[in-house]
């Protein structure tokens, strides 16, 4: 469950890296923004009298993807693309600061933004027991939605014109432009796609923990980035594998080590570090080779 969310965030990181060669560090806060947008939409729907989870949930996802995607594109226009040619340090700091701006904006402008917000439980409760393992319907639903989102992204990238453009730009921006790909539009589309995925992840995280908080983007972002790095930056499938792996790591650490739930992130990050020592460009490899 956790792995699916991380994977969705990680796919964003890796997509952005693919087209612009930058790490978009405010992505974690975009993820948080997605959750808050979802909460707002849900509250609005409830006020409008749309009660049924079956109707409210798709609407929430759609609205949150749209809004968050738009914010993602805005962030890219303002802060990422103008600096894409600067040194990595500059983009790093710029996007980290942008994340700070988003975070503080939510803290200040969302009503009582400093408190954790309860997230309504919309998914079916209860569960079944299969061979001694308790399976909750809620978790199954989260898994299903997450997998559906991933399949959708896979379809978009593999078999639409925009997806082809994204892949072309990721390989070689200049050649892609010569072939008639509109670079700016492709980059915008990528950021929309990635941020929309983060919104899905944000809402799923709200549904899973039934609580969202304005600082959840910090760890969320770092974990998403770690997952993307484990999988190899620029590689979408690597990001998915990395996300799932990080989730498994955390859960195993929490289960096996005494007081594991406190130290689960320590273990997970330490494994990521060790991993990068032995495989500095991820499981499935980075998209480009270093040339002299």
């Amino acid at each position: 469950m956790l792995g699916v969310m991380y994977a969705l965030v990680a796919v964003g990181f890796t997509l952005f890296f693919g087209v612009l060669d930058v790490i978009h560090f405010s992505h974690g806060d975009i993820f948080m923004l997605g959750a808050f947008t979802g909460l707002t939409v849900l509250a609005g729907l409830r006020a409008a009298g749309v009660g049924g989870a079956l109707l409210a949930l798709p609407l929430t996802f759609a609205a949150s993807i749209l809004v968050t995607g738009a914010v993602g594109v805005l962030a890219e226009r303002v802060c990422v693309k103008p600096l894409a040619r600067a040194s990595p340090l500059m983009t790093l700091l710029a996007t980290l600061s942008l994340g700070l701006v988003i975070r503080e904006a939510v803290l200040i402008f969302y009503p009582r933004g400093a408190d954790p917000k309860p997230f309504p439980q919309l998914l079916p409760q209860g569960g079944v027991e299969l061979g001694g393992v308790a399976i909750r319907y809620e978790n199954l639903a989260i898994l299903g939605i997450g997998l559906a989102a991933m399949v959708a992204v896979d379809r978009v990238i593999k078999s639409t014109k925009m997806g082809a453009a994204i892949r072309a730009v990721a390989q070689e921006p200049e050649a892609a432009q010569m072939m008639g790909v509109n670079l700016d539009r492709t980059v915008d589309a990528t950021f929309f796609l990635g941020s929309g995925l983060a919104a899905v992840a944000g809402i799923l995280s709200g549904l899973y923990y039934s609580e969202i908080h304005f600082i959840m983007g910090v760890t969320g972002g770092v974990i998403g980035f770690s997952a993307a790095a484990i999988g190899g930056l620029g590689n979408v499938y690597g990001a998915i594998v990395g996300g799932l792996l990080f989730g498994v790591l955390q859960t195993t650490a929490a289960a096996l080590i005494p007081r594991g739930s406190e130290f689960r992130d320590v273990v997970a990050f330490a494994v990521v570090m060790l991993f990068l020592v032995f495989k500095p460009s991820g499981i499935l490899g980075e998209k480009s080779v270093e040339r002299v």
């Binding site: 890296f17 790490i23 303002v78 802060c79 103008p82 600096l83 600067a86 990595p88 340090l89 500059m90 790093l92 700091l93 710029a94 980290l96 600061s97 942008l98 994340g99 700070l100 701006v101 503080e104 904006a105 200040i108 910090v218 760890t219 770092v222 980035f225 770690s226 790095a229 930056l233 007081r259 406190e262 130290f263 992130d265 320590v266 990050f269 330490a270 990521v272 570090m273 060790l274 990068l276 020592v277 500095p280 460009s281 270093e290 002299v292």
Partner: protein, 377 residues
């Protein structure tokens, strides 16, 4: 030549007076007036080419006098800030950021080793002091000298993944380290958990505790003045040492390493040695800043060293100018006091802080005091 001297000292005195006035101004109009005067003065120097060139020439010809004048004014600052003692503390903090900033700049700016774990290394220094004094019973001054070595030691362990990874992966390794450090100190028993370590004894020399406010010829200085002077000495020494290192063959070798690792290797620069030296030296000074912080404030706790502070340290460098030693001093002296000054906006403080950094990076990416190209005679 004496016109140069007068020009240098008058400029410094004017800037000093305006800054002090800006700090102490209480009414909004007074603050606005001093701020406006600073902006107008800056604009004059910037946009009246003859004035700017004359001043730059005067400062270049009279460097020793300019430095001496700056030192005198820095010494006089607590005296000028007597009516508002809190500001001496803020100035002390700014000097601590000068120390850590120089260390971090040596890593990032000079050697190109991206380190986003500045907060963790400062924390290692601070926690080392806390443990040595409270649990080990060491005198504070000894702990401050030994504490930074904790940062250096842990840094060498972390060095393996740092050497192996490049660019974004390197950034990730250091970010992961800050998180690991923070979770560990938050949950381990001997670091006091979320409470941190309290009651760290203060510095004292030959029975003279640094917390007693010093009196100078009958004029009592603010309570933090002793720490301010100690921090001034520390920041000055750090800046001097790192300036010498930056100008030495080592600094040059590290610069080539930063610009093109393969070319540097071809010219006989050892990548491992260079990076390890830069990383350890930088960590020492970052840890020193953290260690000193522990004795000034008297306690250390996890939130003092979280990822946000890594960002502040990094911003100090970027705002000042990457690889620019005077830039780091300027960056620290702007970034630490300014948010304090605008406390009345405190809700929007971090928001504005983020906006300012983004705008700076977009329009002035080389910093306010860009590094100059090396000159050789």
């Amino acid at each position: 030549m004496s016109r140069d001297l007068a020009g240098v000292w008058l400029t410094e005195a004017a800037v000093f007076a305006l800054v002090v006035a800006g700090i102490l101004a209480e009414r909004p109009w007074a603050l606005g007036a001093t701020g406006g005067a600073l902006v107008v003065a800056g604009g004059l120097v910037r946009f009246v080419p003859r004035l700017g060139a004359a001043l730059a020439g005067a400062f270049a010809r009279r460097r020793a006098a300019a430095l001496a004048g700056g030192a005198v004014l820095a010494l006089a600052l607590p005296l000028a800030l007597r009516s508002s003692p809190y500001w001496t503390f803020v100035a002390t903090l700014a000097l601590l950021y000068v120390t850590t900033g120089q260390g971090l700049n040596f890593q990032i700016g000079t050697a190109g080793v991206i380190n986003l774990a500045g907060a963790a290394f400062a924390g290692l220094g601070g926690y080392a002091v806390g443990l040595l004094t409270v649990a080990g019973g060491w005198p504070a001054w000894l702990a401050v000298l030994v504490g930074p070595w904790a940062a250096v030691l842990v840094g060498t362990i972390l060095f393996v993944p740092i050497l192996k990874t490049r660019g974004h992966y390197l950034a990730l390794v250091t970010i992961a380290f800050v998180f690991i450090f923070n979770i560990l100190v938050n949950n381990l028993e001997f670091t006091g958990g979320p409470q941190g370590i309290k009651n760290i004894p203060t510095l004292s020399l030959a029975g003279y505790a640094f917390t007693t406010p010093p009196a100078l010829a009958g004029v009592e200085l603010p309570a933090h003045a002793n720490f301010y002077y100690a921090a001034l000495v520390m920041a000055g020494l750090t800046t001097w040492v790192l300036r010498r290192l930056h100008d030495s063959w080592l600094g040059l070798a590290l610069n080539t390493l930063r610009d093109d690792e393969i070319a540097a290797r071809c010219c006989g620069v050892s990548v491992t040695r260079g990076k390890l030296l830069a990383f350890s030296i930088g960590n020492f000074f970052i840890g020193l800043g953290g260690a000193f912080y522990a004795v000034v404030v008297g306690f250390v706790s996890p939130p003092d060293f979280d990822f946000g502070y890594s960002l502040v340290m990094l911003s100090v460098i970027i705002i000042g100018g990457v690889d620019s030693i005077p830039g780091v001093v300027l960056g620290a002296c702007l970034l630490v006091p300014l948010p304090e000054r605008f406390r009345f906006l405190h809700e929007y403080r971090l928001l504005l802080y983020g906006v300012v950094i983004v705008v700076m990076l977009l329009y002035r990416p080389r910093g306010l005091w860009p590094a100059r190209i090396r000159r050789y005679r």
